[in-house]
């Protein structure tokens, strides 16, 4: 749609939407403002701007949650899960499109069907399976489990994209003497980068924020990710809202920074990832 001219009725509309946006933003204000108040001040007035800034909350919360550890765990689990998922998913999707024999089709149908399976429908036996293979309570274990659960959407999105990529470049790579592996890494992967960015964004948001799967697999404190660390904190200090709000602020901070820097890609990823639901 082309841009229309700005006129008074649009100003009215704009003010209305700004009001909606303020309502949407207000929870963040309440969390931030109260996170730097001592406990008594929160109980007295949980809406006001803080009179004095009480940073002790953050120091206590930082140590109690062991923030550097949970942050590092979240980073390791997300980066390796998504990295592996993309590599394995791209390899499978590409090969399945280029060699459309009966097995490729069966596998594709299986992946599409699996996208409607709710996680909660398989989590009970999954815990058992993970225990038997030895995936419980280790970071590599949780990463491998994410490979399994992430594969359907990854393959589905990349499969659709590969179909639109011309074969000529790959074929000339073969003629130049490339092996299949070389042409995959040096010719195919770069051609898929637009959809790969979409997959990375969607899967990273899922894994970074996921609670239930790591809660079932990672028991030791030293392996906890940010959502588990936050949850554990609340189990122990339910009503100590001053520390709790500092914890929530710290927990949100990394992903908000990530979003504000990569906003363009996140929004594009959301739209591209939803063209075919």
């Amino acid at each position: 749609m082309s841009r229309e001219r700005y006129f008074p009725r649009l100003l009215l509309l704009e003010i209305l939407v700004i009001l909606v946006a303020i309502v949407f933003l207000s929870p963040f204000y309440f969390v931030l403002a109260n996170s730097v108040k001592p406990f008594g001040a929160i109980i007295k007035n949980a809406a006001s701007w803080p009179e004095t800034f009480y940073y002790q909350n953050y120091i206590e919360a930082w140590e109690e949650v062991e923030f550097p550890i949970v942050l590092l765990n979240s980073l390791i689990v997300t980066v390796f899960s998504v990295g592996g998922m993309v590599l394995l998913g791209a390899a499978a999707a590409w090969r399945m499109v280029r060699r459309p024999h009966i097995f490729s089709r069966i596998i594709f149908v299986l992946f599409v069907a699996a996208m409607v399976i709710p996680f909660q429908s398989v989590m009970i036996p999954m815990v058992k399976v993970a225990k038997v293979i030895g995936l419980t309570n280790t970071r590599p274990g949780v990463i491998i489990i994410y490979f399994g659960f992430g594969m359907p959407l990854t393959v589905f999105l990349l499969h659709g994209f590969v179909k639109g990529v011309p074969r000529e470049l790959e074929e000339s790579a073969y003629i130049d003497g490339c092996t299949t592996i070389q042409s995959f890494f040096f010719v195919v992967l770069p051609l898929l980068r637009i959809m790969i960015v979409t997959v990375i964004i969607l899967q990273s948001l899922w894994i970074w924020n996921d609670f239930l799967l790591p809660a079932l697999i990672l028991f030791s404190r030293r392996l906890h990710t940010i959502p588990l660390g936050v949850f554990r904190f609340f189990g122990q200090h339910m009503d100590r809202w001053n520390f709790a709000l500092a914890t929530l602020t710290m927990g949100m901070f990394p992903i908000i920074v990530f979003f504000l820097f990569l906003q363009k890609y996140v929004i594009r990823g959301v739209t591209a990832g939803s063209v075919k639901g």
Partner: protein
């Protein structure tokens, strides 16, 4: 098989094999095992699960009061949340596709809650309902804020719906915006020249041409709400008295708090079937509304 064919098959295995292996080994095996466990009695610790036939399924539909409460809550929560979030998202998308000066910033703000994890969002809103609303209620005297938020079944229900709408509207809105922008200018121009009013333009041009986006958004919203777990788990833990316990939470508690893995597995299978039927039906129905441009 000659050497060239052999190499092609080896490449097939090399490229397709690993991804499929992880999927089959983790997800598919668990799914099949889950069907088996649903016909057994098993506490998760014993080596052997005892085969009891369909007793678990009978239990779900006849003896388990909380399962019924959870199913009903999930259905009501799904219906209310899907409708409200999609309506709000569509209206906001219509506004943000006009020539506003601050549309980029507004889009960012409304999208922001989506990137934050459900556990954190649930706790944020627990604070807001319990502490902030009380303060605002005391200061302004507006009845809405003085309700016993999360303290009763009704406020727990609407409290959950509000959080969901706040969290997910931005995501749906972004999809609607892309779809509305994608409508060809000539179509809208033509309608304007023919003297269409704003409402007619919406009903005859914009709505029919955004049906694909509506299909996707309904699908996404249904899949989020039917499977809702972490936000409400952090917000209310299912309380008061299990009145805001989603079906996904009910499965979790059955298996991992009560250690009834067999019954939990049967609930998981029922859950899968119901979610599958609802999603498929929705896609089939909205697909029929789609028109050619």
């Amino acid at each position: 098989m000659d050497r060239k064919q052999l190499r092609t098959v080896k490449d097939d295995l090399l490229f397709i094999g690993p991804g499929v292996a992880f999927f089959v080994g983790i997800v598919l095996i668990s799914f099949v095992l889950g069907i088996y466990y649903s016909f057994t009695e098993w506490n998760g610790v014993d080596k052997e699960a005892i085969w009891i036939g369909v007793r678990n399924y009978i239990e779900i539909f006849s003896g388990d009061e909380q399962a019924g409460i959870s199913a009903l809550f999930t259905a009501r929560f799904t219906a209310a949340s899907v409708v409200i979030a999609n309506l709000l998202a569509f209206v906001l998308a219509l506004a943000l596709t006009r020539a506003l000066k601050t549309d980029k910033v507004l889009r960012t703000i409304i999208f922001l809650p989506n990137i934050i994890g459900g556990i954190i969002l649930g706790f944020i809103w627990r604070f807001i309902y319990v502490n902030t609303f009380e303060t605002i209620g005391n200061l302004t005297g507006i009845g809405f804020f003085e309700l016993p938020w999360l303290g009763t079944a009704e406020t727990g229900f609407w409290g959950s719906v509000i959080v969901f709408v706040w969290q997910r509207t931005g995501y749906l809105m972004v999809i609607y915006v892309a779809s509305i922008i994608g409508i060809k200018d000539e179509l809208i121009e033509a309608a304007r020249i023919d003297g269409a009013t704003g409402i007619q333009l919406l009903r005859r041009v914009i709505l029919p041409l955004t049906v694909p986006a509506i299909t996707v958004c309904l699908f996404l919203a249904l899949s989020w709400t039917t499977k809702m777990f972490d936000v409400i788990y952090a917000l209310t833990r299912g309380g008061p008295y299990g009145s805001t316990e989603t079906f996904a939470m009910n499965i979790y508690f059955e298996a991992f708090s009560s250690n009834n893995y067999g019954l939990g597995s049967a609930k998981a299978i029922v859950f899968f079937i119901v979610v599958g039927i609802i999603s498929t039906a929705q896609v089939l129905i909205t697909k029929r509304w789609e028109v050619e441009e």
